[in-house]
Amino acid sequence: MSDRLAVRKTYKLYLGGAFPRSESGRTYEVTDARGHFLANAARASRKDARDAVVAARGAFAKWSGATAYNRGQVLYRVAEVMEGRAAQFAEEVAAGEGLSAGKARAAVDAAIDRWVWYAGWTDKLAGVLGSSNPVAGPYFGFSVPEPTGVVAVLAPQRSSLLGLVSVVAPVLAAGNTAVVVSSLARPLPAITLGEVLATSDVPGGVANLLTGDAAELGPWLAEHADVDGIDLAGAPTPLAMELERSAAGTIKRVLRAPAEEPDWTADPGLSRMRPFLETKSVWHPMGV
C-alpha cells in the first residue's frame, strides 16, 4: 500500500448527459452497511425530477428512432465499459449492500451480463411481438411494437446495482427513455452507472439517474403529464398503491412491484419490456 492520499469522488446527479448537483443544493449522508460514512449524495428535488423528464422527452425521438441494431450496439457498449470498471462497482456494492467481495463481484458480473442480454433483444422485439395480420379483405396489415415514451423507474431499494440494471436496461432496450430514482440508502452504484452511460454512446437524456428518496420524487413522477409509464419496483407497498392511483390520472402504464423485492438473478423474460411497449397496427389497401 502506498501512503498516497486517495482522491475521492463527488457523487452528483446524472441528468441530460451531465452531472449537476441537485438544484436544491441538498445532499445526504450515505453510509456502508455497518454505518460508516461513504459519501454525500445529492438529494434530488421535485425540480430535478421535472428537468429529468424534460431531458428524457427531448431524447426520445432520437433514441426511439435509432435503428434497433444501433440501440443494441450502444447497450452492448455499456456492458463493455462496465466490465472495465467492474472492480469499482464491486467495491461500491460490497460496501453498500454488506456483501463479501466474491458475492459483490458476482452481482456486478450478473449486471454486466444483463446489459448484454438486453442489448441482444433490441432487434428481436419486432419479430417476436409483431405480426403480419391476415385480415379478411384486400388489405396489407401488420403490427409492430413501439416504445411507450418516457418511463419513470423507481429502482429497487436493496439490490443497488443488479436490481438497478435489471429495471433500467429493459426500459432502454425497448426504446424508451428513463427517469430513474435510485435506492435511497444505496445510491452510489447508480451514479457510477451514470458515468458508464455517459461514456458508452448512450445519448444524453436517454437515461437520467437521480439519487434521493422515491417517496419524495415518486408522487411528482406518477402524476407528471409528460411521463407515459412508471415502474414501481422500488416503491414500498403503501406508497406503491398511492402512486398507482395517481398514475391513473394520465392513464400511465404501471408496472407493479411484488410485496417482496424479487431475486434479480432470475431470468426476466419479456416481463419488464412488455409493459412499456405499445402495439401499432397498420393497414393499407391492396390493389392495382
Binding site: 385480415v135 388489405y139 403490427s143 391513473a248 423474460g269
Partner: protein, 481 residues
C-alpha cells in the same frame, strides 16, 4: 330542397325480432330477477320504449361473480381446451344463423343504420368468436411461454356505440383463454347482450361461464370493485377509464382500457382526392361518429384544401339521414338525448371560439335524436372541437404545409388511438406512419377492423390490445408475464 337521388323507403322488417316487455339478468345460465330497480331502454330514432331491463345491484353483481367463479373452478378452467374452442365455434355459427335478428335489434336499440349493423357489427362479432375459437387449444403459441394460465373471473364493461361487437371483443378472448366473465352492457343498449345470453343457452355453454348484468354506472362500479374479480376490461370514456384505474390500484387485478380518441386524418396534396373523400366520410360519419377511433380531425395540406373541401361537401350532401332500419340510410340516430346535448354543446362552443360551421341542407325526423353531418373550418389547434372528443358526426378541418407540421399537429393530443394518412407516395406513408403516436394507422383507408389485427391506444387512449395474438396477453399469465 329535394335530394339529389330520390329513393323509395326500403325498411328492413322488424318482425324478425321478438323484444320482450322486460328482461331479468343472465346469471348462472338462467334469466333471473334482479334485486334492484329497473330502467327503460328506448329506440333513439323514435323515442319509443323498447323494453324494461334490470338495474343490477351490488348483490346481483356478487351473485354473478360467484357463478362465474364456480364455473371457472369446476367447469371452464379444467375443460379440455379444444372443447372450449368448440363452444366458441358454436357461438360464432349461432351468431351467423341469427345475424339478421341481431342486426335489427342492434339498430332498434342503438339507432345505427341497418346497413352497418347488418354488414359490419354482427358479421365482425361472429368473426371475432370464430377467430378466438381457434386460439383456445393453441395458447402455447401465444408468446407467453409454455402453458399460460387464465386469470380467473373477468369483469367487463362495454360502451353503447358497438354493443354487440364490443361484447364479442370482450367475451371471445376471455373465454378462449379459459376465463369466465361477468359482462355489463351499456345502460342505453342492453338488448343484444341479452339476446346473446339466449345464444349461450342454445350453444349449451355451461352455466356461469358467461353472465350478463345490465345496469348503469353504479352497476359497473360494483363489478370493477368486486374483490373476486381477477381481471377488468373496459371500453369507454377516458374519464371513466381513469376512475377504474384508480379503483383497481393497489389490487392484484389486471386491467386493460380502451378509451377515447381524437384521430387525425392527414391528406397530402398528392392523395387521390375522391378516395380520400370517401375515407374522410367513413372516418367521421360511420356510426354517427360514435366511434372512439373516428377521424375527427381532418388535416389537409394547404394546397389542396379548397378542392378537397368542395368535394367533401358535395359528397356529404348525398348522405341520407333518417330511419336506421331503412336500407338506404347512411346516418342514423344519435344514441341518447344526453349524447345529443353534448354534441350540440361542443358544436356551439366551436362557433363561439371562432370556427365556422357547415351543415348540408337536410330534413331531420320529428321524433328521436338527430344531428346532421357537420364540418367545422377555420379551426385552430387550441379550439375545444380540435381537442375534445365529440363522439358525434362533427369534423374539424385544420391545415398544414409540411410533413413535419402534419405529424406535429396529428400528435398534438392527449389521445393516441388511431390516425389516417392519404398519399400516393409509399415511402411517405411508411415514414409518417412510423412517426404517428397511435395504436392503429390506416393508410389510404379508414375504419377497418379485423379480429386478427390488434386494436388499442397509445397515451390516454388506454392500454392493452384487443384482437390477434397480442390481444391474448390481456387474459393470460405465463412465465413471460
Amino acid at each position: 330542397m329535394t335530394s339529389l337521388f330520390e329513393y323509395a323507403p326500403a325498411p328492413e322488417s322488424r318482425s324478425i325480432v321478438d323484444v320482450r316487455p322486460s328482461y331479468g339478468l343472465f346469471v348462472d345460465g338462467e334469466f333471473t330477477d334482479g334485486t334492484g330497480s329497473t330502467m327503460k331502454t328506448v329506440n333513439p330514432a323514435t323515442e319509443e320504449v323498447l323494453s324494461e331491463v334490470t338495474v343490477g345491484s351490488s348483490e346481483d353483481v356478487d351473485r354473478a361473480v360467484r357463478a362465474a367463479r364456480r364455473a371457472f373452478t369446476r367447469v371452464w378452467g379444467p375443460m379440455r381446451p379444444a372443447d372450449r374452442g368448440k363452444y366458441l365455434f358454436r357461438i360464432a355459427r349461432l351468431l351467423q344463423e341469427r345475424a339478421r335478428e341481431f342486426a335489427v335489434l342492434e339498430s332498434l336499440d342503438n339507432g345505427k343504420p341497418i346497413r352497418e349493423s347488418r354488414d359490419f357489427d354482427v358479421p365482425q362479432a361472429a368473426a371475432h368468436f370464430f377467430h378466438h375459437a381457434g386460439w383456445a387449444d393453441k395458447l402455447d403459441h401465444a408468446g407467453l411461454g409454455p402453458a399460460p394460465r387464465p386469470l380467473g373471473v373477468a369483469g367487463q364493461v362495454i360502451p353503447w356505440n358497438f354493443p354487440m361487437l364490443m361484447l364479442a371483443w370482450k367475451i371471445a378472448p376471455a373465454l378462449a383463454t379459459g376465463n369466465t366473465v361477468v359482462l355489463k352492457p351499456a345502460e342505453t343498449t342492453p338488448l343484444t347482450a341479452l339476446l346473446f345470453a339466449e345464444v349461450c343457452q342454445q350453444a349449451d355453454l355451461p352455466p356461469g361461464v358467461v353472465n350478463i348484468v345490465t345496469g348503469a354506472g353504479e352497476t359497473g362500479r360494483s363489478l370493477v370493485a368486486h374483490p373476486d374479480v381477477d381481471k377488468v376490461a373496459f371500453t369507454g370514456s377516458t374519464e371513466v377509464g381513469r376512475e377504474i384505474a384508480r379503483s383497481v390500484a393497489g389490487t392484484q387485478k389486471r386491467l386493460t382500457l380502451e378509451l377515447g380518441g381524437k384521430a387525425a386524418n392527414i391528406v397530402f396534396d398528392d392523395a387521390p382526392i375522391d378516395q380520400a373523400v370517401e375515407g374522410i366520410v367513413r372516418g367521421i360519419f360511420f356510426n354517427q361518429g360514435h366511434v372512439c377511433c373516428a377521424g375527427s380531425r381532418l388535416l389537409v395540406q394547404e394546397s389542396v384544401h379548397d378542392e378537397l373541401l368542395a368535394s367533401l361537401q358535395r359528397r356529404i350532401g348525398t348522405l341520407r339521414i333518417g330511419d336506421p332500419l331503412d336500407k338506404n340510410t347512411d346516418i342514423g340516430a344519435i344514441n341518447s338525448a344526453e349524447q345529443l346535448v353534448r354534441i350540440r354543446e361542443l358544436s356551439e362552443i366551436g362557433e363561439a371560439e371562432g370556427a365556422r360551421r357547415w351543415q348540408p341542407e337536410c330534413t331531420l325526423p320529428d321524433r328521436g335524436w338527430w344531428f346532421p353531418p357537420t364540418v367545422f373550418t377555420d379551426v385552430s389547434a387550441a379550439h375545444r372541437i380540435a381537442r375534445d372528443e365529440v363522439f358525434g358526426p362533427v369534423l374539424s378541418v385544420l391545415t398544414f404545409r409540411t410533413p413535419d407540421e402534419a405529424v406535429a399537429k396529428a400528435n398534438n393530443t392527449t389521445y393516441g388511438l388511431s390516425a389516417g394518412v392519404w398519399t400516393e407516395k409509399g415511402s411517405r406513408i411508411l415514414s409518417i406512419t412510423d412517426r404517428l403516436r397511435a395504436g392503429v394507422v390506416w393508410a389510404n383507408t379508414f375504419n377497418e377492423f379485423d379480429p386478427t389485427s390488434p386494436f388499442g391506444g397509445y397515451k390516454q387512449s388506454g392500454y392493452g390490445r384487443e384482437g390477434g395474438r397480442q390481444g391474448l396477453a390481456a387474459y393470460l399469465q405465463g412465465d413471460d408475464r
